[in-house]
């Protein structure tokens, strides 16, 4: 961060030039300019002399105080530097460089929480200060990671949102915001962020994959398919890409193409479970029950707690009228994950068929409540971006 501070000093110098043209006396300006040039050339003694000359005649010159603070930083005399920056701020509260330098010094000293208000103030006064914005974005990203690690996804997203406002052209910030929005199922925000990432960093495979996932969350399967297809083109040997593309193709009813993608994924990663599970779902939907059961059993031999496979195998048993097996499998699936709507639904249907009415009613009610909650969630997820509500009340009925 020391280099950044130096860089900040150079920037300060350049920002002083136009001020000098309108701010007499010219001798003071000449000395300030000379000091700044000396600093960039590493001639700290000469800079010090110039600045002390100014301060002798004008002890409250905030520009000289600020520049002398920079000299002190470069001399590793941070305590004095901080005092000089604070004096500059005291003399001229809307002098952005002093706030920026104070913030940068705080950051350098590991006082990120103190740095943030100074950097924000610098940017409020002069939004073009890249030294302040770079530092602030750095802090916000760090804090976001800490919040995420602590499980506070909401705070993490809010911090990234602020970082994104300060650095709209930073692809890393855009991506991190998108990833956190994706984690929070804020599909529209995630889509916007990943699209921006891809504008800044074309064909970034990870952003393509993530954008595909966000489109899947929005049920925009054709859009998702396009992203995963680009991803697979960029990374043809990634099994997860083929699996994801297969999922979107299956959702788009392109069953044969989906099957090909899952099979390709299996060739690339034979020990996986997901593509087998997805193949099983295709077979289940077309009532190829034995094939489906084979796939689901394979998944369960590799991951005995795969709730999707347990539930799907239960559905196979239901379709085959093996109601006792179906009840056992579906109950096991629910025991692992009681939010499995489909498992509750088929358990309810199975219990109907064996005459256990009250239990059936209960399971069907749970299924409908879960479905209702899911549908509501899809419709009421707000776009936090710009503080606007989304299209949640209108009727895409998805």
């Amino acid at each position: 961060m020391r280099n950044k501070l130096l860089c900040g000093g150079v920037l300060l110098l350049s920002s002083l030039m136009p001020v000098a043209q309108v701010s007499p006396p010219s001798s003071t300006m000449s000395l300030l300019q000379d000091a700044a040039q000396a600093m960039t050339a590493g001639k700290l003694t000469r800079a010090e002399t110039d600045l002390q000359t100014v301060l002798r005649t004008a002890p409250d010159d905030y520009r000289a105080l600020d520049l002398l603070g920079v000299v002190r930083v470069l001399e590793h005399r941070d305590v004095e530097a901080e005092q000089l920056f604070r004096r500059a701020v005291q003399k001229k509260p809307d002098f952005a460089p002093a706030h920026a330098h104070l913030g940068l010094l705080d950051l350098q000293k590991g006082r990120a929480d103190d740095a943030v208000p100074q950097l924000r103030e610098a940017l409020r006064i002069d939004s073009a200060r890249t030294d302040a914005s770079d530092a602030l974005v750095h802090i916000l990203r760090d804090q976001s990671k800490t919040a995420a690690a602590a499980g506070d996804s909401g705070s993490s997203l809010a911090l990234l949102r602020e970082a994104r406002n300060y650095a709209p052209d930073n692809p890393d910030v855009q991506f991190e915001f998108g990833a956190m929005a994706l984690q929070l199922s804020l599909w529209q925000d995630a889509i916007a962020a990943f699209q921006q990432t891809l504008k800044l960093r074309q064909n970034d495979p990870v952003a393509l994959y993530s954008l595909g996932r966000a489109f899947l969350g929005e049920w925009k399967f054709e859009d998702a398919r396009q992203q995963f297809a680009r991803y697979v083109e960029a990374r043809p040997d990634d099994a997860s890409g083929h699996c994801a593309l297969g999922m979107t193709l299956a959702a788009l009813e392109s069953t044969q193409e989906a099957r090909e993608q899952f099979e390709r994924s299996i060739v690339l990663a034979p020990e996986q479970t997901e593509s087998y599970y997805r193949l099983g779902l295709i077979e289940l939907n077309v009532k190829d029950l034995n094939e489906a059961a084979t796939d689901f059993r394979l998944v369960l031999t590799r991951d005995s707690k795969h709730t999707g496979a347990l539930s799907a195998l239960g559905r196979v048993a239901f379709e085959q009228k093996r109601y006792s097996d179906a009840i056992d499998l579906l109950q096991r699936a629910i025991a692992s994950d009681d939010s499995l709507r489909e498992a509750h639904y088929y358990l309810g249907l199975t219990l109907v068929r064996v005459g256990r009415k009250e239990e059936a009613d209960s399971q069907l009610q749970i299924a409908t409540h879960l479905e209702h909650d899911e549908a509501q969630h899809r419709r009421t997820v707000l776009r936090i971006q710009d503080g606007e509500g989304g299209d949640h009340n209108s009727d895409p009925k998805k």
Binding site: K287, R341, A367, E371, H372, Q376, N393, S394, D395, K397
Partner: protein, 573 residues
């Protein structure tokens, strides 16, 4: 044979139900493929040529009132018994922008009138609305045709927002509004209606679907902000509303029995259809609900119903998801003698096809029949099973459009206006999309809503009438080039209701058996020709026509000739 047990017991007794069905309908030979069947249909737009100039007035406003996007239905029926089908169109009314809460929209201009078109002997139509006294009231939605007083003339029930109207057919080309005397005005937002003799007393009762509790103080939906826009609201924002059931007491009087019969479970009903899905001799009622579980009201046979949509497997899709049920039909598409269900919905939901498993339950067959891939991106309203090529298998005609006129802004992959779909039934196993080769109108984008089916020109091929939202209607004449044989049965009840609604018919030829139920209700807010049409494929003789009348009377006619319209009157025993 009616079981008084509850649904769950009935499932256990499914073997008995199956035996009952077999006794009535025999074993049901599978209907063979007909080698003469061409794959596509040929439908031509004859609207102008036939003199139909109807245009539905939705009265769109900047407020985006839901009412203005739900359309109005159509009926195909022979009101003057001249043997030719006539057409009745329901129409909207004027809506102010904004319209105050509690308002009743008015038909204060002829453009809002409902319209009755009489078919003349030359096959063209004339507008006889005023003379018939059918200009109407308020914002009309659905229409149901039935001879409720068994006088031999078809009467009309016109559902509407806030008020519905029962028109008695005077038999002289005029109708009389008898709503008040009959006690069937109803209330709320009424959509589809169906005539059905639910207690088999020989008189048609009336079921009226209601959408939801809604008024003109509609909430703002859509996208707020400076670049925002209004959009039609999701039904989840409104409370559900129950079906109305009016028992026909005779003498022109009805009693509302919704609560007593247990049919008053709140739903968000748009489509209605009837069939005896469990072969117990009593008509059951299917209600297509918007964005909640579909309702199947099982008729217990003792004057009450139990709602069994969810436990029967006909309430949700195969993943346990609800969908936006709109249009519905309840017919036997796989010729096994048991009524199946089709329900249309919105894009990304897939039209729901439920195959009757003959034990009181249904299997979601959308994917396995190919309907899933066909319907994924489509939004459907009116729907009917119809055998367009007379090959002996009931195909599907579906008219389409999304509900939101700005849907492209929300999802560029979905369209508001869409062409209709014609799906050919491949021996009850698959549906194949033959729309592209079946006529120009299958390439035209419509905001379609209502659909009624019937043989308008009595040429042995089923035609259709389609309505659109805030747009024209279309008369689609079926000119499919096929040598296949057919027969149309016009059943007349004596002990049963005169329309024979609820009669179940099996037609048997050397190619196999087919089954159908007499009804005027299904589709979306529409009413179709009550005559039963059967395509016979290459079979040039009918071995047997078996009829189970609602009265319980069982009739068999043998060695009937095909390619004609036959009137069959219910025997005395």
């Amino acid at each position: 044979m009616k079981s008084s047990s509850k649904f769950f017991s009935r499932v256990l007794l499914s073997g008995i139900a199956l035996i009952s069905g077999s006794l009535i309908f025999g074993t049901g030979l599978p209907f063979a493929a007909s080698p003469n069947s061409p794959t596509p249909g040929r439908f031509v737009d004859a609207t102008e040529k036939l003199g139909i100039h109807f245009r539905q007035q939705a009265s769109p406003t900047s407020r985006k009132y839901l009412l203005e996007t739900m359309g109005s239905g159509v009926a195909l029926f022979d009101y003057d018994n001249d043997g030719r089908l006539d057409i009745f169109f329901a129409n909207g009314a004027r809506l102010d922008d904004p319209t105050p809460k509690g308002s009743t929209p008015k038909k204060d201009s002829p453009k809002y009138w409902n319209r009755l078109y009489h078919q003349k002997s030359d096959g063209t139509f004339e507008d006889v609305t005023e003379r018939a006294g059918l200009t109407g009231f308020g914002y009309s939605t659905g229409v149901a045709v039935g001879d409720y007083d068994n006088d031999g003339f078809e009467d009309l029930y016109v559902a509407g927002y806030g008020r519905s109207t029962l028109y008695h057919n005077n038999g002289d080309g005029t109708f009389t509004d008898v709503t008040a005397a009959a006690g069937v005005a109803g209330s709320g937002w009424m959509t589809s209606a169906a005539w059905v003799d639910y207690d088999n007393d020989g008189r048609l009762d009336l079921v009226v679907a209601r959408y939801m509790q809604w008024d003109f103080d509609d909430v703002l939906c859509g996208k707020p902000g400076k670049d925002g826009y209004r959009s039609y609201c999701h039904p989840d924002l409104f409370k559900a509303e129950s079906v109305l059931l009016f028992h026909n007491d005779g003498g022109g009087k009805f009693t509302e029995v919704s609560h007593q019969t247990g049919i008053d479970k709140p739903g968000k009903g748009l489509g209605l259809a009837i069939a005896d899905y469990d072969h117990d001799g009593f008509m059951d009622i299917l209600l297509a609900n918007d964005s909640m579980s579909e309702y199947l009201f099982h008729n217990r046979g003792n004057g009450t119903f139990e709602e069994v949509g969810l436990p029967s497997g006909a309430g949700l899709d195969s993943n346990g998801n609800t969908f936006a049920g709109m249009g519905v039909d309840f017919e036997d598409y796989n010729n096994d003698g048991w009524p199946d269900i089709i329900i249309t919905d919105l894009a990304n939901q897939r039209y729901a096809l439920y195959t009757n498993l003959k034990d009181g339950t249904f299997d979601y067959s959308t994917t396995v029949t190919g309907l899933s891939a066909i319907s994924l991106r489509h939004s459907g309203w009116g729907v009917r099973f119809l055998d367009y090529d007379n090959d002996g298998w009931k195909d599907l005609l579906i008219v389409q459009s999304h509900v939101i006129d700005t849907i492209e802004m929300l999802d560029p992959n979905v369209r508001y206006r869409e062409p209709p779909l014609l799906l050919r039934n491949e021996q009850g196993k698959k549906f194949v999309n033959v729309s592209a080769a079946s006529g120009d109108m299958f390439h035209q984008n419509w905001a379609a809503r209502g659909l009624a089916v019937g043989d308008i020109n009595n040429d042995g091929k089923l035609d259709a009438v389609v309505t659109s939202n805030d747009g024209p209607a279309w008369v689609l004449l079926n000119q499919t080039d096929t040598p296949n044989h057919w027969i149309t049965l016009n059943l007349v009840g004596v002990k049963s209701n005169r329309d024979a609604i609820g009669a179940q018919v099996r037609v048997s030829t050397t190619l196999g058996d087919q089954f159908a139920t007499v009804t005027t209700s299904s589709s979306y807010q529409s009413s179709s020709d009550k005559r039963l049409h059967f395509g016979l494929g290459t079979a040039d003789a009918i071995r047997e026509i078996e009829i189970r009348w609602p009265s319980g009377i069982h009739q068999i006619l043998r060695d009937q000739k095909p390619d004609r319209i036959v009137t069959i009157t219910e025997p005395l025993k």
